[in-house]
């Protein structure tokens, strides 16, 4: 008997039920996503987009969400896709990571592991002198979709923009804000925000960000992120290839439209085997030397 955890949208804790279900389909090819289908009775309400986690004796076999649902009387049919599929529904803006090389000299030494980073950008140089690094998995889970932010206030040379609907009641909540990897502390009032360069403020409805013009000028679509506000559930797993010790020679550029393609393609380009691994807390992206 498998345990199914059902986490409906908006709920904070899953409801756990026992189900007799066929095993999920888990392709070895990381370009493809796992699927899980179920038809029968479930003792809890299930909504479209509910997260579904399957485990047996503590071993997780599936982490995904309800993609299709049909309910007829007490019988329910759900078709679920693995969380990793959400990586193909995250737009990847143009981004690059620059390492050292013979053409240019670099003070910091970006590693492969920095590119796959899922955590918030470090605000002080790390062991390799890398600072303000926005990793691919961090951007995938955190980047606010690029759009027009209306100007709220201009006190030249500083500009304050407003994201309508990005307030504390939204899915952004009070998540830390980063602009191109730089932390923008949230202030207690809009006046405090306007008085401080590179800061943010949110009321219940909207988010405000004040930029330092001399740093950002009229940038075409800065990468503005709210930590894990758009969480896929994916985290960086095991990255081989001496990822932590070999610096990038040259630079790596985004040339695809979604993060899923980027993660899998980059791992394969490096000669690694990409793999999605389900654990109790997250789905981990591994890029490893040997097939799992």
């Amino acid at each position: 008997m498998m345990q199914m955890e059902v986490l409906n949208p908006g709920q904070s804790a899953p409801v756990i039920v026992d189900v007799n279900a066929e095993a999920p389909n888990r392709p070895v090819d990381a370009h493809r996503y796992s699927t899980f289908n179920f038809t029968g009775r479930i003792e809890v309400p299930v909504r479209p987009y509910a997260r579904i986690f399957l485990s047996e004796d503590g071993q997780y076999y599936f982490r995904g969400y309800v993609y299709y649902m049909k309910r007829q009387g007490e019988k329910i049919t759900i078709q679920c896709r693995g969380e990793e599929e959400l990586a193909w529904h995250r737009y990847s803006p143009r981004h690059g990571w620059t390492g050292s090389g013979s053409q240019t000299l670099g003070a910091s030494e970006i590693r492969i592991t920095h590119i796959f980073e899922d955590g918030a950008p470090s605000q002080t140089p790390d062991y390799w002198s890398v600072v303000h690094n926005s990793g691919a998995i961090f951007l995938m889970n955190s980047a606010i979709p690029q759009t027009i932010w209306p100007v709220y206030n201009v006190t030249y040379p500083n500009w304050c923009f407003k994201l309508v609907g990005g307030g504390t009641n939204s899915r952004l909540g009070t998540a830390p804000i980063y602009v191109e990897g730089l932390y923008f502390p949230r202030k207690g009032s809009i006046s405090e925000c306007l008085a401080n360069l590179n800061s943010a403020y949110a009321d219940a409805l909207d988010l405000y960000i004040q930029f330092d013009w001399t740093t950002y000028m009229a940038s075409y679509f800065l990468h503005i992120s709210a930590l894990n506000a758009f969480d896929t559930g994916i985290r960086r797993g095991n990255i081989d290839h001496d990822a932590a010790s070999i610096p990038i020679d040259g630079n790596i550029q985004m040339n695809v439209n979604c993060w899923g393609d980027f993660l899998v393609n980059l791992a394969e380009t490096l000669g690694l085997t990409p793999h999605w691994r389900y654990e109790a807390d997250h789905t981990y992206f591994d890029a490893i030397n040997e097939a799992p």
């Binding site: 479209p48 299709y68 649902m69 309910r71 803006p93 000299l105 899915r171 550029q253």
Partner: protein, 300 residues
């Protein structure tokens, strides 16, 4: 927006049957519209629902020749697509329903396990000999008529005539020295004097002025992450490309708000610097800047 006024309440326990079915492709929570321009300067506009707390599902929509100004089609097409995709769940109910709604009316559906009702539009109504009524609420299943209508819409679109070049382009070539963090911006390229005729800005033209920048790297210099800056007017404010790759062509920068139509402009400068210090600055590189004026059909 006014709230629809439901004409009937439907309670799940009173119904003979209820089928809830989501669409084969669920509705997106964000549609990112991608319009005119190359990757660095592409026109982008998103419609999203940040109040949604579940898994986040983004889609992109390519809008050919889309600009995000009020005279452009990018905002309209993204908003329209987003609205169309929101009704992704179909509710099929059968029961003794009175008053009997007509297609287009609204009904209030109370599910047994929910305390808040859903207000849904009636898509179709079916009458059974037994006196029961079948309603299709929310999303409607697409039929052959929809396929014919979609084809007809495509044939009616005049996209070929939507966006046409207005007059000849203006080009200027020269040299640019690429700077680095230590040395600063290097020596910018100055485009000399150019004039966009005032008649281009005729309201009937719904015009846009765009610019392409092409930097040709000397042999032995390879692509490098860089920042590119377009300055028209001396205030360094017309475009800052934070993730530019040295050597890439940037095409379709929307310059319209910064153009002084009918007057000579002599202060267009292009700056560039790589993100890491050069081990040895490779010197001046070839650069070409081209300005285009465009005429667009005005949609009411």
């Amino acid at each position: 927006m006014t709230q629809p006024n439901p004409i009937v309440d439907l309670y799940e326990p009173d119904l003979n049957s209820l089928i809830i079915e989501t669409a084969g492709v669920p509705h997106p929570h964000c549609i990112i519209g991608q319009g005119y321009g190359s990757r660095d300067c592409q026109q982008k506009y998103s419609v999203m629902d940040l109040s949604w707390k579940g898994p986040w599902f983004e889609e992109t929509l390519n809008v050919e020749n889309g600009f995000m100004d009020n005279g452009g089609i990018l905002k309209k097409m993204v908003a329209s697509q987003y609205a169309d995709r929101q009704a992704d769940t179909r509710y099929q109910v059968v029961g003794r329903i009175w008053p009997r709604p007509r297609p287009g009316d609204y009904a209030r559906l109370w599910l047994a396990d929910e305390s808040v009702a859903r207000v849904l539009q009636v898509q179709s109504v079916q009458l059974y000999p037994s006196g029961k009524v079948g309603l299709e609420l929310g999303r409607r299943v697409q039929d052959e008529i929809d396929a014919f209508n979609a084809k007809k819409d495509l044939e009616n679109v005049l996209l070929d005539q939507y966006f046409t070049e207005c007059g000849n382009s203006i080009s200027s070539s020269g040299k640019i020295t690429i700077g680095d963090p230590t040395s600063g911006w290097g020596t910018p390229f100055s485009a000399g004097s150019f004039t966009i005729p005032s008649k281009v800005n005729n309201p009937d033209n719904n015009c846009r002025v765009t610019m392409d920048i092409s930097i040709r790297l000397a042999t032995g210099i390879w692509q490098e992450e860089a920042v590119l800056l377009v300055d028209l007017g001396g205030t360094l404010q017309n475009g800052y490309f934070n993730h530019y790759v040295l050597g890439d062509t940037v095409s379709g920068i929307d310059m319209t708000p910064y153009i002084d139509f009918g007057h000579a402009q002599t202060n267009l400068k292009i700056y560039c610097k790589v993100r890491r210090n050069w081990s040895s600055n490779p010197g001046a590189q070839d650069i070409t800047v081209t300005l285009h004026a465009w005429r667009r059909v005005v949609f009411a």
